[in-house]
Symmetry: C2
């Protein structure tokens, strides 16, 4: 498979590192970060690019933009792993559209295009007979999309419940375990690299809500957006509220829920029994799929990280390779 990688942040570098370490059957024919690009039909040495990026801060020629790479490179799969912009979805949406219209498959970790233009992009991919895969957009390393698509094919999924934001889960874990205030736990999360300098997106529940949107659109072919989700964050939670829950063998977790037959799309702090399968400590993510045949299936794993997200990306590329080879 010839692939092009757009984005040289933690995810892009994770994908390149895995290709190097694992001798995966991929040839990288184009790479771009926000400031430069490189196109080479004969294959780019991932190690060399990583070194250049580390030393100079850019990966290639400053005259080449990401969209140039999308248009000029020769590839089977576009790996779109630029930074998510949840308001405009750009520039990722343009990259994805352009690649699909060139008849290329797309694998992405970028939540913006999926949250904002789900139906359009899926239809465009169908029209051009290519695959658009986005395992990495929800719950990091946990293969939720593969499970929905294949493992549970034949089931009707009636509802989903998930802990979809590791930053919030870390903060809530620490508030419960150590009696920290929200502010103290947030500072700790920042120091450990689990929270961004501006944590709004995570702690207000927006990131979790975007994942609920992507799941709902995928599972039930909905056409919903962020504004359709009732969202409450964790930033107003008090230590006293958590202590009260703990006194009753419960705790509080930020839960994303989608239950179509109750018209429910919600992200909010919920009181859960401490032995509930979705009560996990630290930055873990988890998702329960409630189905008609298989009952409840719960998946637990790491929701973020460079290697973890690369795992999802690589799984998607290999799945495209397998599907288009046409053998089980």
């Amino acid at each position: 498979m010839r692939i092009v990688i757009l984005g040289m942040g933690s995810v892009g570098r994770g994908v390149l590192a895995s290709i190097m370490e694992k001798d995966l059957p991929f040839t990288v024919t184009g790479i771009a970060d926000s400031k430069s690009g490189i196109v080479d039909p004969s294959g780019i040495d991932p190690g060399k690019v990583m070194t250049i990026k580390r030393e100079k801060g850019i990966c290639g020629n400053p005259g080449i933009t990401p969209i140039d790479v999308v248009r000029q490179a020769d590839y089977d799969v576009l790996v779109e792993v630029t930074t998510t912009n949840a308001t405009t979805g750009e520039p990722a949406t343009s990259h994805i559209r352009e690649a699909i219209m060139r008849g290329r498959h797309v694998v992405t970790s970028n939540k913006g295009p999926l949250a904002l233009h789900f139906r359009e992009l899926k239809a465009l991919a169908r029209e051009h007979d290519v695959s658009l895969r986005y395992e990495a957009t929800v719950a990091g390393a946990i293969p939720v999309m593969h499970t929905i698509e294949n493992g549970l094919a034949g089931n009707r999924i009636n509802a989903i419940y998930g802990v979809l934001n590791g930053t919030c889960n870390y903060i809530l874990t620490r508030m419960a375990e150590e009696g920290l205030s929200y502010e103290q736990a947030l500072i700790e999360a920042r120091e450990l690299g689990y929270a961004e300098a501006d944590p709004t997106y995570d702690v207000k529940g927006i990131d979790a809500a975007i994942k609920v949107v992507i799941l709902a659109n995928t599972i039930w072919n909905m056409n919903v957006g962020l504004s359709d989700v009732e969202v409450t964050g964790i930033d107003l939670l008090t230590t006293a509220a958590i202590r009260l829950a703990e006194e009753q063998d419960c705790t509080i977790r930020l839960l994303g829920e989608a239950v179509p037959n109750k018209n429910l799309l919600r992200v909010s702090p919920r009181i859960l029994p401490r032995d509930h399968p979705l009560v996990l400590n630290g930055t873990l993510n988890a998702l329960t799929l409630s189905t008609d045949l298989a009952g409840d299936i719960t998946l637990i794993g790491k929701g973020a990280g460079s290697k973890e997200t690369a795992s999802a990306i690589i799984g998607d590329i290999l799945f495209i390779k397998r599907m288009y080879a046409g053998r089980a």
Copy 2:
């Protein structure tokens, strides 16, 4: 897809019921139980067969055997869901071999053939360019094989740890929760239909060990059998031992483990912290896959049941359909 179903026990009936309820794109062209069979290239009405089976105890013509159906019917996929014989693997192994040699795909819930003839059957399927799928053999409704094959493709799996027998998990749960003795909990499990009249296979850890064998052969292309697994059951566990664990915020679970770089294949009662992800109550199953990129991924769900096993079977048939259609 034209399918043949061998076995009209709980799993076979579950598959037929799902085909009826869900209007799945399958035509059933042959069915057999241990005493009778029916072949009809124009399609068998699942409802009619279920009624006949309920009323007469057989599903078709007493002159037609399962192997006749394998040989004579016209089908794409053989669904082998006869009762497991863990000692001989028969007659299921013969059914599977014959179908593969006729160039048919096979989907099975039967652990015998996989535990005893894994490598031979996989090689035979490869040789005949057909698919042999067995999601239902391990952990019931939980799509562990799909996760290993696709969701985590690109990962190296370093170890697996699982609660793979619901009967044992139920007994251990009740011993811990209510202070029941092993014998009392076993009686209760029998009354609820969670344990067989002869529970040896479950409580001695044999069933869990067979699943460890199937997983190890699948993940690491091993060639191991039941005798390669160090097996200790739960039948000698005392209430006192469980109480002791509980006093230290731990409990005991029957754990299946495979860790190749420690040469470890083992099923044994293990002391685990009560908040460990594999500590679940009742008849649930769970499996943790320890990987290099994705970290630990844990899957939890129902390990048995008619509908639950049908979910795995149907997922496998639909996957074959998808793969051989050659589109992602």
